[in-house]
Amino acid sequence: MDFYARTLIDYAVVALGMAIAMFVVFQVLVRLGMKREAATGYALILPWLLGFIIWTAYPILASLYYSFTNYNVFQPPKWVGLDNYIKWLTNDRSFWPSLRLTLLYGLISLPIGLALSLGVAMLLARNVRGVGVWRTLYYLPAVIPAVATILLWRWLLGSEGLVNQILSPVYNLIGMDKPSWFVDERYALPGLIIMSLWGVFGANTVILLAGLKNIPTHLYEAVELDGGGAWAKFRHITLPMVSPTLFYTLVLGMIAAVKTFEPGIFIKLNSLTTGTFLQVLVYGNAFAGGNSRMGYASALGWIMLVIIMVLTLLVFRSSALWVYYEGERK
């Protein structure tokens, strides 16, 4: 039990230190002639500011430095220039399949997931009875720990699992063998996508439903007066009005897809053929196995950062074409 005590002491020391630091910052700034309001502001945001410096800014710079070195933790890092980016990337046979898997996983599961979520949200927005009950139900999978979801689907998608048993008439009909989902290279990606759809679509449904509820009904009435049908309402009112919410879920979903980690740890994917998630590759190089390659892992982390930045930039750029903000004037 002394390990609890140890952390409690650490925790108390840091908390106390933080309180003292906030007080000192306030006093010093006031003595230096700063207005009390400004000094209080700086003192209040100090926890975040310190956290940003210690846990974000320094680590980013450090990992950039490590990415140019050979570093196995036990010996000091050795500068190797661009080696990690060039030599390792061309030699690491699991990188390209993993990049492909991570990107395809996001590119396929995101649009399908958003379309499904929007569909369900639109059904719920039709003033159905017991919206609350449906919403509770649909959101349930998103509440369950991701790890529980993965274990559950590993079981459901086993070669003798429930899904294959339910689908076995279909397999017989089209003369196909039962796929062993996460083992067979061809079915690993579809399996992962099915799992992710089940896990997240409820959360997006709730977000989109909130967006749909914000659409004033008089807009729909206007379309009706003009003789427009259901499609016109969807195309000209629902879609533009809900596009900022769709944009928000798209950006978050994209970042989450690139950062996918747990499925790749709990489901053993062949990193040379199927590929695995990039984040798992980083973890594997840095922490798992005998020789840790912190330098190479940092380089991979930076490649992921660049991928996320490029994708985010693309989505933000494209948003001018399809996202409609009501307050905006053209």
Binding site: T7, Y138, L162, Q165, I207, Y283
Partner: protein, 301 residues
């Protein structure tokens, strides 16, 4: 809508048939709506029911064909067995210890920081706030390795310190953002009144402001609780000793031992249920706050 284009029959007929067809139309679309909703609900529920039903089966029932949703005799003792195979009480205490410390630190410091951003003018505030929002996009993996090396430098690997103490540095830009939005809606008169009554900044914060943003605090508490409870990557990296495992690592270790020869999926599913149950209970108890925390960024931002 359909009536607009149809040529006009006699007046009375138009009225009745028009309303009649509208009604039928409405009914048909309602029926379709409910059928789709029920189908969706089945897709959500069947896997969950299967998880519970598997956890109550015997090992020989696992692959018995035809598959049955309900086991012959529910094996409730599976849950006790699971508890006996591994020191689950210890794992639970570890998870609760980590979750409570991290959650407490997170809520308190994020509220302080959000209050600072919302209510006090100081040079560089807006730039700092944008930087803070920008860190939301950052993949954690970038900071993971140096952070690990910092804790290693402090000799805190295989302790709970890396999983909890970081929370005191206002983890979670999303929480700060959410709280700031709430603080902004509170009229300034509240603080002015407190100041006139002789309260200092901290007293105003704790006795006036915090009670006013209670819904936001609860939303964050719920998010933070689930986030820490479900956190897998950090314990995987920092914790090595079995005795210090949180529940989630115990699940991982057991899942690694599953094989074709020892397909103990009934135990695996029982553990999964045990781990999910507190979160599901919290969800049903505080559903409003889950939804609030989830939607506030999308609709207000």
């Amino acid at each position: 809508m359909a009536t607009v284009s149809t040529p006009a029959p006699p007046k009375t007929a138009l009225r009745t048939s028009g309303i009649g067809s509208m009604k039928v139309r409405r009914m048909v679309s309602d029926v379709i709506t409910y059928i789709l909703l029920v189908l969706g609900a089945l897709v959500v529920l069947i896997p969950l029911l299967w998880m519970i039903s598997t956890s109550l089966k015997t090992e020989s029932e696992l692959f018995l064909l035809p598959l049955r949703l309900f086991p012959e005799v529910p094996q409730w003792h599976n849950y006790i067995d699971v508890w006996r195979i591994q020191p689950f009480t210890q794992f639970f205490m570890n998870t609760i210890f980590i979750t409570v410390l991290a959650m407490g630190g997170e809520i308190l410091t994020c509220a302080l920081v959000a209050y600072g951003f919302a209510r006090f003018r100081f040079p560089g505030r807006d730039i700092l706030f944008i930087i803070m929002l920008g860190t939301m996009m950052l993949p954690g993996i970038i900071t993971l390795i140096p952070t690990f090396l910092i804790w290693r430098g402090f000799e805190r690997i295989d302790t709970f310190t890396p999983l909890t103490v970081g929370a005191l540095f206002a983890w979670g830009p999303a929480y700060i953002f959410l709280l700031r939005q709430f603080f902004l809606t509170i009229p300034h008169e509240m603080e002015e009144a407190a100041t006139i009554d002789g309260a200092n900044t901290l007293q105003t914060f704790f006795y006036v402001m915090l009670p006013l943003v209670k819904p936001a605090l609860l939303a964050i508490a719920v998010l933070s609780f689930t986030g820490n409870w479900n956190n897998f990557q950090a314990p995987l990296i920092y914790i090595n000793t079995l005795q210090k495992y949180p529940v989630i690592l115990a699940l991982y270790a057991f899942s690694e031992s599953l094989s074709k020869e020892a397909p103990k999926w009934h135990y695996m599913m029982a553990m999964t249920v045990i781990m999910s149950l507190p979160i599901i209970a919290l969800y049903f108890a505080a559903q409003r706050y889950f939804i609030e925390g989830l939607t506030v960024g999308a609709v207000k931002g």
